[in-house]
């Protein structure tokens, strides 16, 4: 991954920023320069809620490169408190995972570029117990 590509997405990855369209009111993720619903350019960056519910999940055992250390891990779609959905992974899972379970956003390492490259941080979701 190029350094600028990672850097451009820091707001979305670190702070779970999306956009709100000032024209039609739609809140969406990931952040775009235009509203995905009405396509207006009049959008502003907003912080999305940091809590939500699991909509669907899959326990992944065959990872892409760079994720071997985390296997097995849950890939999930989370519906945040304001209805916006995001794709992510769970961390600190110590029990059963079920549709509808409540989760909170936490800041974690996502992967890294070997021993000499960048560390990629972002948001994962942790079950609220």
């Amino acid at each position: 991954m190029t350094v600028p590509r990672y850097w451009r997405n820091i707001g979305a990855h670190y702070r779970l920023e999306g956009i709100r369209c000032k024209s039609c009111g739609e809140v969406s993720f990931p952040p775009r320069s235009s509203c995905p619903k009405c396509h207006s350019k009049d959008v502003e960056v907003v912080q999305l809620p940091r809590k939500g519910k699991v909509v669907s999940f899959s326990l992944l055992r065959s990872p892409p490169k760079g994720f071997e250390a985390y296997v097995p891990y849950y890939v999930v779609v989370v519906e945040l408190e304001n209805g916006v959905r995001v794709l992510g992974t769970l961390t600190d899972v110590f029990g059963e995972v079920k549709e509808g379970m409540e989760v909170e956003a936490v800041f974690r390492k996502i992967s890294e570029d070997g021993e000499e490259g960048l560390i990629y941080y972002g948001t994962k979701f942790r079950p609220i117990t």
Partner: protein, 384 residues
């Protein structure tokens, strides 16, 4: 007289680990069959491929392959890419080229090599069909995204796990008769259920294998086609949806397929009930079930049941994937759509051998890119 392009030649290569053959070798093998059958040279070539750039370091693929293959004089050459629907999209490009009159003939070749890298490199490359920054970035593999759909579907419609396993079993059974198939061994429901979990609930035998292959179709304007029995590409349609699963309205269906079906059937002036044979994109068993629903063969939640009841068998209500589908025939990603198209064409030509659906006159193939974001459907008709 219809201006629909006519299929004058097809080519297929056996799918598998083709260690001795490069991308251009596979391209040559498939395209030579099509050109020799037709006796016509193409005026343009459209190559369907997804990961040759990533895995082989070769962009500018259309030109590179036709030059290295040397099967015909160099012509305008284009790589067409839409993830796993690259083949279908390449066929769409050829269809538009000929139907519009810009070119008299177009060669469409889907070609892919997936067997030469370690599996984690393949997993990473195929994940490029998903959103790089907001799905692959977080470690979601392509299989895990499809698994989210399978879990959601199973929960919503209460479909037993075994019904999906049965789909894989049927595909393997069909492929035993297919000399081009990658996997030609029968399996059992038990084999599927005990195979290792890739991303729960998807197991190894729910997934199509990764392999190498090329398929080719040569299309021409109707005036150039000879012979009594001709197969025309009667219509095509594309449907789309968001690239990320987080943007989908539901995780239990694929509206992109429904949109493609409506457009394709309308263009071809057919209805679902007119189909004699259907090739669906069963990259994972769940996708086979969803395809039947979204294409309109059955209602929501009834897809797996259609297979379970035997209605998809060669002698069933509507034969689906009589050649083994992606699951057993194989899924060399960018080539797959063209394999599906060629299989339909050969059914309509009466050249399907042991896999023949009797009196097949109208057939369709379905090709899906991403986790449900870009569907291509093509309808072929036998002309008299």
């Amino acid at each position: 007289m219809s201006d629909n392009p006519v299929v004058v030649g097809t080519g297929l290569t056996k799918i598998g680990r083709r260690w001795e053959d490069s991308l251009s070798d596979l391209f040559a093998e498939a395209s030579r069959q099509a050109i020799e059958e037709a006796g016509i040279q193409p005026q343009a070539v459209f190559v369907g491929n997804m990961v040759a750039g990533e895995l082989d370091g070769q962009e500018h693929l259309g030109l590179a392959l036709e030059d290295r293959a040397g099967v015909f004089p160099l012509v305008p050459a284009f790589k067409v890419e839409s993830a796993c629907s690259s083949g279908g999209s390449a066929l769409l490009a050829g269809y538009m080229a000929v139907k519009s009159g810009v070119y008299d003939s177009a060669l469409v070749v889907g070609v892919e090599k997936l067997s030469e890298e370690p599996s984690d490199n393949i997993t990473t490359a195929l994940a490029e069909a998903a959103d790089a920054d907001f799905e692959a970035y977080y470690g979601a593999s392509f299989t895990s995204l499809n698994a989210l759909l399978m879990r959601s579907y199973m929960k919503e419609y209460n479909v037993p796990r075994n019904w999906f396993s049965e789909i894989a079993v049927m595909m393997h059974k069909n492929a035993v008769d297919n000399p081009y198939a990658q996997l030609r061994k029968a399996i059992t429901v038990d084999d599927v259920n005990r195979s290792r979990v890739i991303a729960d609930p998807i197991r190894l035998l729910d997934c199509s294998p990764t392999g190498d292959g090329a398929a080719a179709i040569l299309l021409t304007k109707p005036e150039l086609a000879k012979g009594d029995v001709q197969v025309e590409l009667a219509g095509m349609g594309v449907g789309v949806d968001t690239i990320g699963v987080n943007g989908r309205v539901s995780l239990s269906d694929v509206p992109a397929t429904a949109r493609a079906a409506r457009a394709a059937f309308s263009a071809a002036k057919v209805e679902v009930k007119d189909l004699d044979v259907l090739e669906v994109h069963d990259a994972f068993t769940i996708m086979a079930a969803l395809a039947l629903e979204d294409i309109g063969v059955v209602g929501k939640g009834e897809g797996a049941k259609f297979f379970h009841e035997g209605s998809a068998e060669r002698d069933g209500k509507l034969p689906v994937n009589p050649e083994g589908g992606l699951k057993a025939r194989g899924h060399p990603v960018g080539a797959t759509g063209v394999y599906g198209a060629v299989e339909v064409v050969r059914q309509l030509q009466g050249k399907a051998g042991k896999m023949q659906v009797p009196n097949a006159e109208i057939g369709a193939f379905h090709n899906l890119g991403g986790s449900g974001s870009h569907a291509v459907i093509g309808v072929f008709k036998r002309k008299r």
